[in-house]
Every structure is written in structure tokens, then in C-alpha cells.
């Protein structure tokens, strides 16, 4: 059995995903995510000792492209979704060091 999902784990995952959750949301998601994990846990009842681990859902390998140049986007297009830009760069708030 995997370890039960605790509020601490949900807090940590939320932090890693840069999500700010209220106490009420934390409780709600701890319950809901716990139920999802519990459901997936059912798979552990199967004996998979003879099954090869699956690296990809499609049973294919070696999909490559040749090293050939394709046109890139014009800069205006590349920057068009940016909330802030000077026409050359994406401009973002400065990263603050975490203590």
C-alpha cells in the first residue's frame, strides 16, 4: 500500500505547482485526490510481475525527424501571447530568491 495522502503532501504539491490554496480547498483536495489515488490503487491487486514496464502508450519507437531547418515564427508572433514585452524580450517579474 502506498502512503495515505496527507494534507502536508497536498500542500507541498500545491507549492511545487505554484498554486495558492485556501484551508478549505486543501481539505477538499486532500479528500478528492485521496479518493482518486484510492481508486487507482485497485490496480495493485493485479499481478504484474510478468508484465514489461510500458514506456509509451503507443507501441512504437524511433520516431525521428531529419536535422533540417524550418522557418521560425516572426518575433512579433512569438511575443504576441506575452503579458509584457518590449518588442524584443518576454518580460517577467524578477524571480525572488526563496529563503
Amino acid at each position: 500500500m502506498a502512503q495515505p495522502l496527507t494534507k502536508e503532501i497536498v500542500t507541498k504539491v500545491a507549492h511545487l505547482a505554484r498554486l495558492k490554496l485556501t484551508d478549505g480547498e486543501l481539505d477538499l483536495f486532500t479528500t478528492q485526490l485521496g479518493q482518486v489515488l484510492g481508486y487507482v490503487e485497485l490496480l495493485n491487486e493485479l499481478d504484474t510481475s510478468a508484465v514489461e514496464p510500458m514506456a509509451h502508450v503507443a507501441d512504437i519507437a524511433n520516431v525521428f525527424r531529419d536535422d533540417e531547418l524550418q522557418p521560425s515564427l516572426p518575433r512579433t508572433a512569438a511575443l504576441s501571447n506575452s503579458p509584457k514585452t518590449d518588442g524584443k524580450y518576454f518580460i517577467v517579474p524578477q524571480i525572488l530568491e526563496e529563503g
Binding site: 511545487l16 505554484r18 514506456a55 509509451h56 502508450v57 503507443a58 512504437i60 519507437a61 524511433n62 520516431v63 525521428f64 525527424r65 531529419d66 536535422d67 533540417e68 531547418l69 524550418q70 522557418p71 521560425s72 515564427l73 518575433r75 512569438a78 511575443l79 501571447n81 509584457k84 518590449d86 524584443k88 524580450y89 518576454f90 518580460i91 517577467v92 517579474p93 524578477q94 524571480i95 530568491e97 526563496e98 529563503g99
Partner: protein
């Protein structure tokens, strides 16, 4: 009590592809035109699909083989998740549990004069994408950062060493050898100014106490070192800092989380950076957008056949087959693949490896530096130089005369260059110069005897001095004889002169 320095390096190498790893944007270095080399794939826009660059994988495999790695016949790519503005997808495509190669090694020279080497083991090499570039406003708090995604998605090979390095100098040597090898096999230009080769250094200490205990101190990772000098200086600084820290806190490995530090090249200090999230916090999982890769026997053999002779093997061969010293072999091999090809051609033609090495490391190298040329554009071609030196080997020309011919050829070249025409720098021109200047060594003993007799007759005083026991008096006589004979063998002349003067 004493301290032992423990260092492992993670080296990032940009592969020599035209395009990025998962899209057709150019991977050229272009910081002056930010955000002009992007597309939906490398911008991480929804609905885009990355497809692996065949050449990037091929170059990776080639490198891993040259680094003596075991190659996995089945490999896959994973998502490494973290948030940073230069990482548009919110994850980096990298390799986690099934890297395509592992368990290699690089051999480095630890003492060239003594010929001592050391094997630095490699944990793994894996293929991943680079992030973009985040430029902080240095002026103060509360300002914006600028992001350029031209570099995002550039193919990178990460080469991770075991903590086998024991000093800053050894770490530098390892990096130099790795760079040389990568340049020889042509997988990267290793341009450190442009960030094609950069590394992180993991540094800690083993404290050997007087009662025989060995205590490891916490590991510190120094990020983003992009020069050999930087690597050496940063590690030296860090070792001194860690000794001080140990004496103050006695903190052992595991007592504090792994620390990340940056290197300030201007102030020559390392400084603390943000606390890195634990490896498990990257929440790796297989990237569903990319298919796994399997390496067939044919592909494996094909790539292996492309690998040229590696630097370490060339050094060995030059020592064993051509009689070069460790030092000379190292100097020549360090100049790169093209230089060694030139050298080998000259050595073969002249029949004397040491002679060829002397010329290459002194005369040719000096001219290349002065003219800011590579060996491929050097006006004197290897077959001409080899032919010239062959005359020296065969005692038909003195080294001094050969230098005169060498200089004359270059003067020919420079004169022609100014007139915008091509100079004839062929072997027949060499013969012409030798004839014009009478540089050919006189093998005709009677001609030498004649000149000796003339000079003796004209110089009664030095002759008398010699006969009264002043050995040094022969010097001026030899000078005069050589001036008249030009291409004579000085040793032979000296012997013949002394024989003549010693006659009763």
C-alpha cells in the same frame, strides 16, 4: 588531520546540429536578435508536438561510445518539472531512469613529464533540451527580467562524472581532455564563450582525522561555470571556504541540505543561491509526446565506425611509434585534429618524428600565431615541409639552412600576397632556393679541405693561438669557413679543421 577534496563534474555540451532537438528552429548562437528562433514547439504552446532530431541522437551516441560508455539498447525521455521563466513548458525534457548511456570513463594525464594518468569514471551521459536565457536586471529589487527563448530546445548532452577528481587542477585537466575529445570527434564546437560547453561542480571534503576517521562534509554544487579558469578558481575558493565552514560548524554530509552556489568571476567568490528542490520534487514521468528509442546492432556499428582515433590514443602512438616525449606528444595533440594530420604527414615524409615535432611546435606554431592562421590555411603545405625536413634527416641540409628556406618561402608568400598573386611554394621552389643560396651540404670533402686550407693561410694569429693551447680560437675559424661553405655540416667541418691544425 588533513583534508581531501572530492569533486564530481556535470558537463553540458551543445551538440553540433543545425536545428534544435525537437523542432526545426536553428540552434545557432544569436543573443543579439532575441526571440527570433522560436516556434510553437520550443515556445511550449499547447497542441505542439516535439519530434526527436535524428542527428542529435546520433551525435550523442557517438560521444557516449567515445567515452567508453555502456549503451542502453532501449531509452526514453522524461519530463523534469520546475517553474522558471526561461522554461516555457514548465518542464524540461530530459532522461531520468533510462539514460541512453552509462558507466564510461575518460583518461586524463595527471603528470605529463612522468607520464602518469588517471581514469575518471563517468556515471552517465544523457540527452536533454536546453532552457532559454533569463536576464536579470542587476540594478536592484522590484525590476523585471528579460527572457530570450532562442536557446530553448537546443540539444544538450549532460555528462556526469563520478566524484573521482581530487583537486581543482585535476578538474580543469578533465574538462580540457573532455573538450579536446569532443572536438576531435566533431560532436560540438565546445565554444565556452557561447555556452556550448559549461559545467556544474559538486565539491565537498573528506576530513581525515588523527584517529583514522574519514568524515564527509556537505556537498555544494557550483552552477554554470563557463571557463577553464573559472572552474579552477571556483573550486579553489570553495575548498578554502568549506575548510573554514567545517572548522566552525563541524557539519557532516546529511546534516544540512545540499547547497547550490553561483560563481562571481569578478570578485572571485562563490555565493549562495536559492535552495534547490529535492530531486524527487522534479516529479519526473515519461514524456508521452516522445516515443522511446531502440538502438539496433547496425546503427550501433555504423556510429562506432565514424569515431576517429581519440586524443589519448594519438599521444600513445606518437610516443611509441615516433619517439616523441610525453610533453611533445601532448602539445601536438592539444592543437586539434587538423594539426595532428599535418604533423603526421610531415613526420612520415621527413622520417624523423622528433624533428617534425620540433618544427611543428616551434617554427610552424610561431608563424601560425603571428599570422593568426589555422594549420589548414598555412601557406607551406605538409608535403613541402616534410620534403624539406627529409633533406635535414638525410644530412643534405643543416637545420639552420632549413630554417632559411622556411623563412624564404614565407617571404615569397608575403610578397606575392601583397601583389594579390599566388606564390609558388612547391618542392621545386625549395630546390631552387637551396641552389640559389648554395645551402646544400657539401659532401665533397676535397672542397671543404680547400676552404679550410685557405682560411688557415689567411689567419696566422688564431692558428698560432690554437697551436699554443687556446681551443677557443677555432671558433672564429669555423665561422669563416662556414660562411664560405654555407651548407656544410658544422660538426664535420670542426673535426676536419681540428685534424688539420693538429697535424705536426
Amino acid at each position: 588531520m588533513y583534508y581531501e577534496t572530492i569533486i564530481g563534474l556535470e558537463v553540458h555540451v551543445q551538440l553540433l546540429t543545425q536545428t534544435k532537438i525537437f523542432c526545426g528552429c536553428t540552434s545557432a548562437f544569436n543573443p543579439d536578435n532575441p526571440n527570433t528562433q522560436t516556434c510553437p514547439v520550443c515556445l511550449g504552446l499547447p497542441g505542439s508536438l516535439p519530434v526527436m532530431n535524428r542527428k542529435a541522437f546520433r551525435l550523442s551516441l557517438k560521444t557516449a561510445l567515445a567515452l567508453n560508455c555502456d549503451i542502453a539498447r532501449f531509452t526514453k525521455w522524461d519530463r523534469k518539472q520546475y517553474y522558471y521563466p526561461d522554461l516555457p513548458k514548465g518542464y524540461q525534457i530530459s532522461q531520468y531512469d533510462l539514460p541512453f548511456s552509462s558507466h564510461g570513463f575518460v583518461e586524463i594525464d595527471t603528470d605529463i613529464e612522468k607520464g602518469e594518468t588517471k581514469r575518471v569514471r563517468l556515471i552517465r551521459a544523457h540527452l536533454e533540451e536546453d532552457a532559454g536565457k533569463n536576464m536579470h536586471d542587476e540594478s536592484g529589487r522590484g525590476h523585471d527580467s528579460h527572457v530570450d527563448l532562442n536557446r530553448a530546445g537546443t540539444p544538450l548532452l549532460e555528462i556526469v562524472s563520478e566524484p573521482d577528481l581530487r583537486s581543482a587542477a585535476e578538474a580543469k585537466k578533465y574538462l580540457e581532455e573532455l573538450k579536446l575529445l569532443l572536438t576531435y570527434i566533431g560532436v560540438s564546437d565546445c565554444n565556452m564563450q557561447e555556452g556550448s560547453l559549461r559545467c556544474d561542480a559538486n565539491v565537498n571534503l573528506w576530513v581525515h582525522t588523527d584517529d583514522g576517521q574519514k568524515i564527509a562534509t556537505p556537498i555544494v554544487e557550483i552552477k554554470n561555470l563557463n571557463s577553464f579558469r573559472g572552474v579552477e578558481q571556483a573550486i579553489e575558493f570553495e575548498v578554502a571556504r568549506q575548510i573554514e565552514e567545517w572548522e566552525k560548524t563541524h557539519a557532516k554530509i546529511g546534516d544540512v541540505p545540499k547547497q547550490t552556489r553561483g560563481w562571481d568571476a569578478n570578485r572571485c567568490v562563490t555565493f549562495a543561491q536559492r535552495g534547490k528542490e529535492e530531486a524527487s520534487d522534479y516529479r519526473y514521468f515519461p514524456d508521452p509526446d516522445l516515443t522511446p528509442v531502440t538502438v539496433s546492432d547496425e546503427f550501433f556499428a555504423e556510429v562506432k565506425a565514424e569515431i576517429c582515433e581519440l586524443p589519448a590514443s594519438r599521444r600513445r602512438r606518437y610516443r611509441a611509434d615516433l619517439g616523441l616525449s610525453h610533453y611533445d606528444a601532448d602539445v601536438i595533440v592539444s592543437q586539434g585534429d587538423r594539426f595532428t594530420l599535418y604533423f603526421e604527414q610531415v613526420a612520415k615524409l621527413c622520417g624523423d618524428g622528433k624533428q617534425a615535432a620540433n618544427w611543428l611546435t616551434q617554427d610552424v606554431q610561431r608563424e601560425l600565431n603571428a599570422r593568426n592562421l589555422g594549420v589548414d590555411t598555412f601557406p607551406i603545405r605538409p608535403e613541402v615541409l616534410g620534403g624539406l625536413l627529409q633533406r635535414v634527416t638525410a644530412n643534405q641540409l643543416t637545420v639552420k639552412s632549413a630554417r632559411e628556406v622556411f623563412a624564404a618561402l614565407l617571404t615569397d608568400h608575403d610578397t606575392a600576397y601583397e601583389k594579390d598573386i599566388r606564390a609558388d611554394l612547391s618542392t621545386s621552389r625549395v630546390e631552387q632556393i637551396i641552389a640559389e643560396r648554395g645551402l646544400a651540404v657539401l659532401t665533397d670533402a676535397s672542397a671543404i679541405t680547400q676552404v679550410i686550407a685557405d682560411v688557415i693561410a689567411r689567419n696566422p694569429k688564431p692558428v698560432a693561438d690554437f697551436k699554443s693551447g687556446k681551443q677557443a680560437a677555432v671558433g672564429s675559424l669555423i665561422g669563416q669557413i662556414m660562411k664560405e661553405l654555407k651548407g656544410a655540416d658544422a660538426k664535420l667541418v670542426r673535426q676536419m679543421l681540428i685534424d688539420e691544425l693538429s697535424k705536426p
